[in-house]
Amino acid sequence: MDGVFTQKGCEMIKSNYLVLFCAFLVVSSCGESTFQETGQKLRDQAFLSTYQPMVSENVVIVNANMFDGLGNEYKDFDILIRDGKIQEIGQNLVIDGANIIDAEGKWVTPGIIDIHSHMGVYPAPGVRTSSDGNEATAPVTAEVWAEHSVWTQDPQFVLALKGGITSFHVLPGSANLMGGRGTTFKNVPSNSIQAMKFPEAPHSLKMACGENPKRVYGSRRQSPSTRMGNMAGYRKAWIDAQEYYEDIKDGKDVKRDLKNDTLAGVLSGEITVQNHCYRADEMMMMIEMSKEFNYQIMTFHHAVEAYKVADALAENGICAAMWADWWGFKHEAYDMVPANIAIVDQARGGTGCAIVHSDDAVGIQHLNQEAAKAIAAGNQAGYNISQARAMKWITYNPAKAAGILDQTGTLEVGKDADVVLWSGNPFSVYSKAEKVFIDGALAFDREKPELNPVTDFELGILNPNNSRIES
């Protein structure tokens, strides 16, 4: 059933309930999308998610303050987690057969989501032999999948978990124009990458603008060595992919091509586009190109200049994933403004889609602090942004960009119980994730280090009788 269900086909029904339900139905129930047949060919049958939630107990967290990820703040609320899902949210819930956690005024949020991670593909330690994030051998390598590079022992997964990260999207690096597929994971390390894959999450295509591809290939006297070379490289690839896609739709007997499978998946809407792009003028070119070849850009990543074209992003339904304050390490990162995130968020009457991303194993542990800086900068620039609104930047919006908003990203009844209990207001530097639930299971508990995950790499490495770090 997995194989015939296409994300795009179901999204066309425009009902969250049906989209969720669709996963369990045969293809005919999903609508008459012309993508159904092509979907069978394009969507890979291999490497599907085998993720199984950990065994969970039913839990009710009472007396909590909440940011629900939809922009709301609630004081003194309860949340009931049953069978791995959020079953009820409200005040004075009638509790029946669930463990009670008294939050005593602490804060509950959705699990934090990072739309830009290289955990696993650039694991720690950063040794040459497991640095597997860039297949920098040709400018278009849409055929490679980041998930096939992931080192499952990466200790960075667990560090991120301690920062409240319940899902993350792993991308190939930005050496290439089209670097390959990205994959979304549940933050439950396993010896099988498939067992970590977020069920039903779409793949992405990583694209990269600007300095990196032209530097990598230009230094080898290859194309692209300029930004115009970059543009020609993408367009050439799309022209080939269009032909491949048309042939498949026309029922021709086409030899399977991994590169064009990925690109045609973008054209059919099954695969999202996650596009590394710093500069405003280049984002505008990428938007024009997406119209030329009729695909949708989901997110511009590292969008340092997004504030310059925030209206255009909002009008075209494109998210911008940004750092709070990184700048200056290269020329295309020179025009950073700390209000970038706020300006994108507030564009076109607040219809902009702003995401705080990390691209960094330290940053992913503190996305709440990065959001806090962005709120302060936005308000200093004259906006009036609430903490409840800003919580969307690290929950709802990255879930939307990863194509997993129907399952997670907010505190809503029926969603996966990916939930964080914080020791205080999550935008304070002093607050820590105390308990992290993934699908209702307690994946991390700060008070019980002996129960927390320790990767194989960390076991007995400094002292045979200890783990790498003990808390």
Partner: protein
């Protein structure tokens, strides 16, 4: 909003020339010495702190700023940075932090660019001084860092060559070779005849092989003869013990940077009386030298009585040592020690006189914050250098203003 800020700026710039006294009242004063803050008024005259007391009565011609309980700290000093030396990391022609000729003798002092955009940016975030330092190289001595006041004056206020920077750890060869080289050069520098330095270098196989210049040996000599502070980046626990041995053998004024495995040799480090520079947020075991890396580092070192200063991993945002300090406190470091680590500790350890603490007789380099200075969401309301109220505008505020306005015109016309 910006108009409001602008008018204040003009007023204060104006007044700082015409009026010699500034009184900051009812401030929550963090002296910077590691003690708890207290409420007091601060009187500044001609750029110097004159008096710190409760209820100082202002005279009619004094400028008065009512702090109303806001936190006031000394201006932050970064113990290592690229400020004034690097505009854009990936553009070599904007960089002056490396030398192809000199090694330990490299002094970057004369390269300082007071018009760098990094200066208003870091200053508007509370950093009033920095030690700009050379970037890393394969040689264990990278060269010397210099102190600069971030007042953006073309008349540069600084201290030349205040510390040596270097590294001990995994390298292309063996770290045993690096230690041997450090010791050989220390001995050579200590014994060299200054009258015949060029001849002696020519006679030294090591100096010849390394193509050392007289400046290189003279700088290493200062480590011994003047106890020039030596900032040595190192992480592996065994390397930290080697560094302690070097300090004790050669009488070095050693400061260790990074020290991610320090908890494994805590007793030895604490009894060696070596201050450290750390990034408390870097808990990634990035290499096999850093396996013990954790968020508890600052807390563990602080509780052992080790003086901690702060650095950040990222370029350009040296003010983010404040977020690092906040995380250090979140994991157990003493709050007042964290403030000290960004202020007085740096001034004391790098011998920057009359700065780094709110004390009578010191220059008035102060920051008045709109909240808890260790919260990343807190921003400076006012930054003073030499008692002068600094403009907090940056290139970023100009860009923000241009792009957050509704307009029918092309934005190139908005400025």
């Amino acid at each position: 909003m910006r108009k409001f800020l602008l008018s204040l700026t003009i007023l204060f710039s104006f007044s700082s020339f015409l009026k010699a006294e500034l009184l900051i009242t009812q401030a929550n004063v963090h002296i910077g010495d590691g003690a708890a803050p207290f409420t007091a008024d601060i009187l500044i005259r001609d750029g110097i702190i004159q008096k710190i007391a409760s209820n100082i009565s202002p005279q009619s011609n004094w400028e008065v700023l009512e702090a109303n309980g806001l936190n006031v700290t000394p201006g932050l000093i970064s113990p290592t940075s690229n400020i004034g030396m690097v505009e854009i990391n990936a553009l070599d022609d904007t960089r002056d932090d490396e030398s192809s000729l000199l090694k330990s003798g490299f002094s970057l002092f004369h390269a300082f660019n007071p018009n760098s955009t990094l200066i208003p940016w870091n200053r508007s975030n509370g950093v009033t001084g920095t030690i700009s330092s050379p970037s890393g190289s394969a040689f264990p001595f990278w060269g010397m860092g210099s102190y600069f006041l971030l007042d953006a004056s073309m008349k540069i206020t600084g201290l030349k060559d205040v510390a040596m920077y270097g590294r001990l750890g995994s390298s292309s060869g063996s770290r045993a070779e690096d230690i041997l080289m450090i010791e050989s050069l220390l001995r050579l520098a200590a014994s060299i005849d200054l009258e015949n330095i060029e001849d002696e270098l020519d006679d030294s196989l090591l100096a010849t092989k390394l193509e050392l210049q007289p400046e290189d040996i003279l700088a290493i000599r200062r480590l011994i003869s003047e106890e020039l502070p030596f900032v040595l980046e190192t992480n592996r626990a065994a390397d930290i013990l080697q560094a302690i041995r070097l300090k004790e053998t050669y009488g070095l004024n050693l400061i260790l940077e990074s020290v991610e495995e320090a908890p494994l040799v805590l007793t030895e480090l604490a009894s060696a009386n070596i201050p450290v520079i750390i990034d408390p947020m870097d808990n990634i075991p990035d290499s096999f030298d850093e396996l013990a890396s954790s968020l508890d580092l600052a807390s563990i070192l602080d509780k052992a009585g080790i003086v901690i200063m702060f650095s950040t991993q990222r370029s350009h945002n040296y003010h983010l040592m404040r977020q690092g300090a906040g995380n250090a406190v979140a994991y157990g470091m003493n709050y007042n020690h964290a403030i000290r680590g960004m202020t007085k500790a740096v001034a004391d350890i790098f011998r920057i006189p009359n700065r780094g603490s709110i004390a009578v007789g010191n220059y008035a380099d102060l920051v008045i914050w709109d909240g808890d200075p260790l919260e990343p969401s807190t921003l400076p309301k006012y930054v003073y250098i030499n008692g002068k109220n600094m403009d907090l505008n940056t290139r970023a505020t100009r860009l923000t203003e241009r792009y957050s306005k509704e307009t029918d015109k092309p934005r190139v016309y908005l400025h």
